[in-house]
Symmetry: C2
């Protein structure tokens, strides 16, 4: 999951989206965006940010509190995908990014569904990544303070799948052993 930012009438909007990466491009499920912007124009300045929180970092001083995390900020100009085959392939990649193996099983979008789905391609023009790991770093004098310091690790857990009540199919392996594409 990512948060994508766009500008409308000079104001920023930040929306949670699903996405996939195809080499030097990102594909973004655009429906939440197009509701906001109307029909997306060509070359819309966009920022797509992904953040994974790995831990809360407690220092002895308020100032040095922090998070352990991995984040990436991608800048570029997005445009809606018009070509039918390219759009289908982008949607497949978004589904596969969420759950590898799924695109081959789920029914593909029909003509109406495809028309109703906006997919935005975002060529990666600039990107920056940040990673923080490890313990808190306090000012030298503060290590003597009687304040607990350390990290509370944060993990994302995927629990037992819950079948739809109308579903009698067995649970596929890629669902039973579900894991994030990028751990």
């Amino acid at each position: 999951m990512a948060h994508v930012g766009i500008v409308a009438e000079g104001r920023p909007y930040v929306i949670p989206v699903l996405y996939a990466r195809n080499g030097t491009e990102l594909y973004v499920h655009g429906s939440p965006l197009s509701r906001l912007l109307g029909t997306l124009a060509q070359g819309v300045p966009m920022c797509l940010t992904v953040t994974l929180v790995d831990g809360l970092v407690f220092a002895r001083s308020a100032f040095h509190h922090s998070m352990n995390y991995r984040s990436v900020v991608v800048l570029g100009d997005g445009y809606p995908i018009a070509d039918r085959e390219e759009k289908l392939e982008a949607l497949r990649m978004i589904v596969e990014h969420v759950a590898a193996g799924r695109a081959g099983e789920a029914r593909e979008p029909d003509h109406q569904e495809l028309k109703a789905t906006e997919v935005v391609a975002l060529p990666i023009r600039e990107a920056s990544a940040k990673i923080r790991t490890g313990p808190p770093v306090d000012a030298a004098d503060d290590y003597a303070l009687p304040v607990w310091a350390g990290e509370v690790p944060v993990r994302t857990r995927f629990e037992e799948p819950v079948p739809d009540t109308r579903c009698t199919e067995p649970v596929p392996t890629y669902i039973r052993d579900y894991r994030r594409a990028y751990a």
Copy 2:
């Protein structure tokens, strides 16, 4: 944690931040923003979005795949807090939002640290919340398809605290029993 969006030279930027809520205002730890914007002007259009993912929703058709989630999008014009006491209180609230009980134990910012910390107040002018829960909703004809459908619940787990190697203090209760302010 939130993702905050701002506009600089017509382009959107989306940055992960820590924050707190004080009635009709949000406080945002502004340092990551000010690095981007230089000195923040008065009344900067901002968007602050918080998203909690509760589950991945697998429908029989690609089109009806979805997420269960809770999100809120807040719009307003942010401004840097100049007043010393207000800034200290805002920082306390941000620390307390991350871990209730912590602000009373950690050493408060000194003069230099306070100067080096930017805190942005964001009065909530407009906000919208979205929640999706429950099973997939497929088109009537698709329920007969031999495709597994259901939800993979997603949970955030806070693991055993890891003390800093130079820390000999006992683990405080609010760390040992750590939980998010809004579950």
